[in-house]
């Protein structure tokens, strides 16, 4: 293995360096490498031990959910096993009342929960960033309208509205994701607006405007790259919030409906067994907690990594 980690031989350097007396000067520049913002942040994040461990666990969970079903012997549809079998070599988490393998169900539920959470986070971030930046940049009427919309959505209890919409339209996983996204963009919009308000006063925005850049170009080329830190952190934390929100909604029976499933649905179907057959409850419970916990830690690591005041990282 030693040869794999061997650094590039110094002999290769002069080949790329310009010929002549300037070679040694360029060598000095090379040793104090200039790093882009992205490289600095990535470097800090990679050194954040807790965040990296969490990322590892999360990757394992994603593999469990998406690759697991391809390998595992039982399918989530297969209800041929006996009812309520205790954990064994065949069924590490036992079977449910109708004789389905719990591990197979858990893989499928995790898959749906992760998909829902990702859709919610992406959509909520997109809506929040666009509306927040527009409000902060254009101000006036647009600002007032967007902020009143935020106020409106914050006073409507999302759980009731989500339940009504899902009951009316359908309880498929993407519908649940769409409805949850509708109620999770406000925080991001507020943060983006606040940052835009201060960034929009800076010279570089004025310069861009003087060069004739339009509103969208200024927002996406000049403003968004400057607040990528808080956007990324909040998008990450929204994933964790969405996992919990979806589980809660499905738990009270107003979220994802069969044939789609989720971790919330699995818990709600099996929780009466928690004392007699704890494995049916603790499996899905642990997966929910692990997803949400690891994402919260990753978000924390990202926050530290993006913080310009941070010089060294404490894990």
């Amino acid at each position: 293995m030693a040869d794999v980690t061997t650094p590039t031989t110094p002999g290769q350097r002069p080949a790329t360096a310009p010929a002549g007396g300037k070679a040694s000067a360029s060598h000095e520049f090379d040793s104090a490498k200039t790093r882009t913002q992205g490289q600095i942040v990535l470097g800090r994040f990679l050194r954040h031990r807790l965040a990296m461990t969490s990322l590892g666990v999360l990757v394992l969970l994603v593999l469990f959910a998406f690759v697991g079903p391809l390998i595992w012997t039982f399918s989530y549809e297969d209800s041929s096993s006996g009812s309520y079998l205790p954990p064994s070599g065949d069924h590490p988490l036992g079977t449910t009342e109708v004789g389905k393998d719990m591990l197979a169900l858990l893989m499928r539920g995790t898959q749906y929960s992760i998909e829902i959470a990702l859709v919610v986070a992406l959509l909520a971030t997109l809506i929040g960033v666009v509306l927040g930046a527009l409000a902060g940049y254009l101000r006036g009427f647009v600002d007032a309208t967007v902020m009143r919309l935020v106020d409106l959505l914050l006073i409507l209890p999302y759980i009731a509205v989500a339940a009504i919409i899902i009951r009316t339209v359908s309880g498929s996983w993407y519908m649940v994701a769409l409805v949850l996204a509708m109620f999770h963009w406000m925080q991001i919009a507020r943060i983006t607006r606040a940052e835009t308000l201060s960034l929009a006063q800076r010279e570089f925005v004025e310069a861009a405007r003087a060069c004739g850049a339009g509103t969208w170009r200024i927002i996406f080329k000049h403003l968004v790259p400057n607040m990528i830190g808080s956007i990324t952190v909040n998008a990450t934390l929204t994933v964790a919030t969405a996992v919990l929100a979806e589980a809660g909604l499905s738990f009270i029976g107003l979220g994802v409906q069969l044939p789609d499933t989720s971790l919330g649905v699995i818990v709600s179907e099996n929780y009466p067994q928690v004392v007699q057959r704890p494995w049916l409850f603790w499996g899905p419970f642990l997966v929910i907690v692990l997803i949400s916990l690891t994402i919260n830690f990753i978000g924390d690591g990202l926050r530290d990594a993006f913080d310009p005041r941070q010089t060294k990282v404490r894990a």
Binding site: R148, D151, L152, L154, I155, L156, P157, Y158, I159, A160, V161, A163, I164, I165, R167, T168, A240, L244, A247, G248, F251, I252, G253, L254, G264, V267, Y271, V274, V275, F281, F285, I288, V289, S292, L293, N296, F297
Partner: protein, 332 residues
Amino acid sequence: MIRYIIRRLLIAIPILLVGTFLSFVLVASLGDPLAELRSKPGVTEADVQALAQSLQLDRPIVARYWSWLTNFVQGDWGTSVALGSARADVYSVVTDALVVTAQLVIFAQVLALVLGVAVGVLAAVRQYSIFDYTATSLAFLAFSMPVFCVAIILKSYGIEFNNLLTSVGADRWLTTAGPPTGGFSGGFGEVVFKYTGTFLLPTLSLMLISFAAYSRFQRASMLETLHSDYVRTARAKGLSQGRVIFRHAFRNALIPVVTLAALNIGQVFTGAIMTEQVFGWNGMGSVLVNAVRQYDPNMLMGWLVVVAISVVVFNLVADVLYAYLDPRIRLG
């Protein structure tokens, strides 16, 4: 201050109006509330028509909204149309449920606030100590647990605990069915016993997540004030450590947390719905779940408006508290 409160309430009115109108349209699109009634044997078309007329299902939606609104502000919140509800009065059902839920929410919030602030301050004063690390890990863990799962765990092991009590000949203590409608009876000791037995587990499960948020927030805000100039000045004057922490740092560090607690009320309400579902309480949670399942439009509207108004009021409380606690902020 009075002028500010009045102005804020006036701003809230149009938002509430738009909110209720959108909810009304949403609720109206939920489906036919009389479908179940129609399919029932022995119900004549005339009965259905009479009920449809009384619900004004034949009129355009704006007219229906207007008549709902005028009745609503006069205190007539309509009746339930769900089968088996005996046309219950929405106002009394929702307010009864609100009282049950409010008790749970208030207990949990007060407990979470007191514990969260205490733990947060201690963790900040002893930053990077074992206590700090433990509190941080526990907060992250609590933050990542769904409320209903905590409730399920507490409930099932609470029942086990009861069985243990009865097996040694004692009375059952923890109850999981919610407070009795008639209040608690018996001597003082007995009432306290029953009251704590009823509220302990639901309150614990609901407070956990708020506690986690408050302790984290309090820690951050306390650290910020501890590093501020005026605290350094206070130390330089030679004040004792306790006086610096409590008189100078703590009082200022409290401001953001109090505000957060008032703003958090919507989320806590959602948590209360889950908790009630697990423990089988007849609070706002079961009213919502039943109303959605049975297409009960008046009940849903009553529910939505009560929750929306509570959120508006608590947001206002947050702003007023903020101005009251922090003299640098002047509301006008």
